[in-house]
């Protein structure tokens, strides 16, 4: 891993909402092919960190570079940078006025100028990969939560991103649907995708993460391998958090 290039580099990032420190002096590098799982209590800044990486939130201090480019630099093309990062939200956010297939083809056709036929072929391949090809013609309202999230993952993948950001992708799902989404994510991880995942699924973290990041009150308190995290956690607040969640 040490030889791999840093695809994301966060340096001393801080973000304030009024007097609230949503992020405080956060530094984190993510290397190509690496899977980083971010855990922490609710309100600890996990979403803010993930959203700052593709500038859905702008940080107040510090720098974030993606693929060597500072995302806040005056001349940076944030839309082009975002095309390299897929984002999956807790609430799916599929486009309800588009069919499943159109949800996947819209961005490649409009933004990458990929011919419709080719975009649809790629989209069908992705739908097959997430196990939902038979639903290509329906509108999102007709899907279950688990199906929606799998479509959302496929939609992000349709732009062939270099990294995938997941913000609690299974938190809005009924328990019986969590597995089907995690399976897709595990497959993706095995294929070598670079991933940053905010989740409370400790089984997933243990199985997939190269490193786990523990956040609390806007700060990163501990970073380590799954083995380190679950066998010998150090920070008292991490110990407390793990005792509550496991």
């Amino acid at each position: 891993m040490s030889a791999a290039e840093k695809i994301i580099s966060i340096h001393n990032a801080s973000k304030f909402f009024g007097s609230l420190k949503a992020l405080y002096n956060v530094s984190l590098d993510i290397h190509t092919g690496e899977k980083v799982v971010i855990i922490g209590p609710s309100g600890s800044g996990k979403s803010t960190l993930l959203r700052s990486i593709n500038r859905l939130e702008t940080i107040d201090q510090g720098t974030i570079t993606v693929d060597g480019k500072n995302i806040d630099a005056p001349g940076s093309d944030i839309n082009a940078l975002r095309m390299e990062m897929g984002m999956v939200f807790q609430s799916f956010n599929l486009f309800p006025h588009k069919t499943v297939l159109e949800n996947l083809t819209m961005a490649p056709i409009k933004l990458k100028k990929i011919p419709r036929g080719q975009a649809e072929e790629q989209a069908m391949a992705l739908l097959k990969k997430v196990g939902i090809e038979e639903k290509s013609g329906v509108y999102p309202v007709q899907l279950s939560g688990g199906q929606k999230q799998r479509v959302a993952i496929a939609r992000a993948l349709a732009m062939s991103p270099k990294i995938m950001l997941f913000d609690e992708p299974t938190s809005a799902l009924d328990p019986e649907m969590i597995g089907e989404v995690l399976d897709v994510m595990v497959t993706l991880a095995k294929e070598g995708m670079t991933m940053a995942v905010v989740t409370h699924e400790m089984g997933f973290a243990r199985e997939v993460a190269d490193r786990i990041v523990f956040m609390d009150q806007g700060e990163i308190l501990e970073i380590g391998t799954p083995e380190h995290f679950f066998e010998r956690p150090e920070h008292p607040r991490l110990k407390k958090f793990l005792s509550q969640i496991l």
Binding site: L56, N79, M85, L94, M106, A107, Q142, A152, R155
Partner: protein, 275 residues
């Protein structure tokens, strides 16, 4: 997810008949069949003057539609920009849009019509003949003045309709689109507006009907709409009662039919919500 509570203030458009609202739905049929029956009865029993009035009106109906459609198109364009301006984070743009809405809403439509046609007309009359625009303005046809005035007036109301429609769409939609790499503008046109239409269209339909009724005001500028044609007829024949009875019935039938069209379109727009 935060619950969205959207209220779009509906103006004085005709009542939209909906099947679930039995009262209005039935009232719609009663009004339509009643109006058509009365028109038929009057034209058969007293063809002079009723049938003669009715034959005199179609030119006016055409003009009324012309004014209404051109005005609504202008209002839609102005409304879109105003709505976007009202939600803009750019303070100057926001202030311009908001001021436009406040000013226009505070001045009666009839006064705006007079202002554009007579007041500005007087200013334009003194322009030199130096270019095509000036020459056009000097000789501005009343219909153009009417369309501009009504478009500007309804554009302000439409701005609020667009704003409410755009704001009714969950912010997650914007975030999903932006995270894929869509620009602000692309997000608006590919993702937000196509969904906002469902919220926007019903009030737009109502505004269209309200505008059609308000367009009778332009008869004052010597635009030969339905009302103006009626006035012309009455001033020659002195059949005021019969003429204006017919004029009123014609307006009623038109607005009733239009309200049906609007509600049908509205139902069609919900296609993707059907399970």
């Amino acid at each position: 997810m935060a619950e969205k509570h959207v209220v779009i203030d509906v103006g004085d458009g005709a009542a939209l008949p909906r099947k679930r609202d039995r009262g209005l739905f039935n009232a719609w049929w009663i009004a339509l069949i009643g109006a058509l029956s009365i028109i038929t009865y009057l034209c058969i029993t007293r063809p002079d003057p009723y049938w003669r009035v009715l034959k005199f009106l179609p030119d006016g109906i055409l003009v009324t539609f012309q004014v209404t459609i051109l005005s609504i198109l202008l209002a839609l364009v102005l409304g879109l920009f105003t709505g976007l301006g009202r939600i803009s984070k750019n303070r100057v743009i926001n202030l311009i849009a908001s001021t436009y809405v406040e000013v226009v809403r505070g001045i009666p439509l009839l006064v705006q019509l007079f202002y554009i046609y007579f007041a500005l007309g007087q200013v334009f009359a003194n322009l030199p003949d130096s270019n095509a625009l000036f020459i056009f303005l000097k000789n501005m046809p009343p219909l153009v003045a009417a369309v501009i005035a009504m478009g500007i007036c309804y554009g302000a109301y439409m701005g609020e309709v667009f704003r409410a429609g755009i704001e009714s769409i969950d912010h997650g939609q914007t975030e999903a689109a932006r995270s894929l790499g869509f620009s602000r503008t692309q997000t608006m046109f590919y993702v937000i507006l196509p969904q906002a239409w469902r919220t926007i269209l019903p009030p737009v339909g109502n505004e269209f009907i309200a505008l059609l009724k308000d367009s009778s005001l332009v008869s004052i500028l010597a635009v030969s709409d339905i009302l103006r044609r009626g006035r012309e007829f009455a001033s020659v024949t002195f059949n005021y009662f019969e003429t204006y009875t017919m004029v009123a019935l014609v307006y009623l039938v038109i607005t009733l039919l239009l309200s049906k069209v609007v509600s049908t379109m509205e139902e069609r727009l919900n296609y993707y919500e059907r399970r």
